[in-house]
Assembly symmetry: C2
Homo-oligomer: 108 residues x 2
DNA sequence: ATCCCATACCTCTATTATCGATGTATCTAA
DNA sequence: TTAGATACATCGATAATAGAGGTATGGGAT
């Protein structure tokens, strides 16, 4: 099976969607995405942490240091109200574009 | 309606798919994508022409100068055998990743 | 006649996102 | 005691896109 990266431009949406389930730390987000996507979406750390920084800077998420399930120090991210709104917009736009692409792919 | 760009990483696939219908010039490709996608996929020239160059370099398309329907000089691109194969691979990978993303978006 | 718009090509630079490598540190299990 | 999993982060290279700029021609409207 191909290693397969994330579609550029969709990572923030995927992270926001993951955080919608509840606060989670970076490592956990990557694990979750890998698992739920059936091992397809492999988010490298070099993509993940900069993306999380962007979410903080834009006010879509906030972070708090705490303890992970395994007792280690971890930074828990959670959605802000602005982040929830942003997620809705991104999902809508994603659907719109994917539908447009499907139109092209289906048109003979 | 938002101006909405192309999903990064999908442009080459969209062009290849357009060329599968028959040879076409750059300007025509952009027009076609805009029309078939219901005005959603707006391909700027600064994205289009570099992408066409990549297709040539990779041997997925070949080009020939000719006359457009309106009598102007135009460069017609057409799919090679390698391009057809490449298109199939890209479509398959696209479906795979979009399906993975949908899994994430649908999971509660 | 002239001027604008659509058609048609292309390049350049800035911006942005992703990836892979690198580095730190801790905890657990073999 | 050592390897692997957990957990953070940054750095540089790569690549793709967008937007602006530049050339040229044809047709239709003023």
């Amino acid at each position: 099976m191909a290693p397969a990266e994330v579609l550029p431009g969709t990572l923030e949406m995927l992270i926001l969607r993951t955080l919608q389930r509840g606060p989670l730390h970076g490592y956990g987000i990557a694990q979750y995405l890998l698992q739920v996507s059936g091992q397809v979406l492999r988010v490298g750390e070099g993509s993940l942490y900069p993306a999380l920084q962007r979410l903080l800077v834009n006010g879509w998420a906030e972070a708090e240091w705490g303890q992970s399930e395994t007792g280690r120090r971890a930074r828990f991210y959670s959605l802000t109200a602005a982040g929830k709104k942003r997620l809705q917009e991104e999902e809508k736009e994603f659907d719109r574009i994917v539908e447009a692409i499907r139109l092209v792919l289906r048109t003979v």
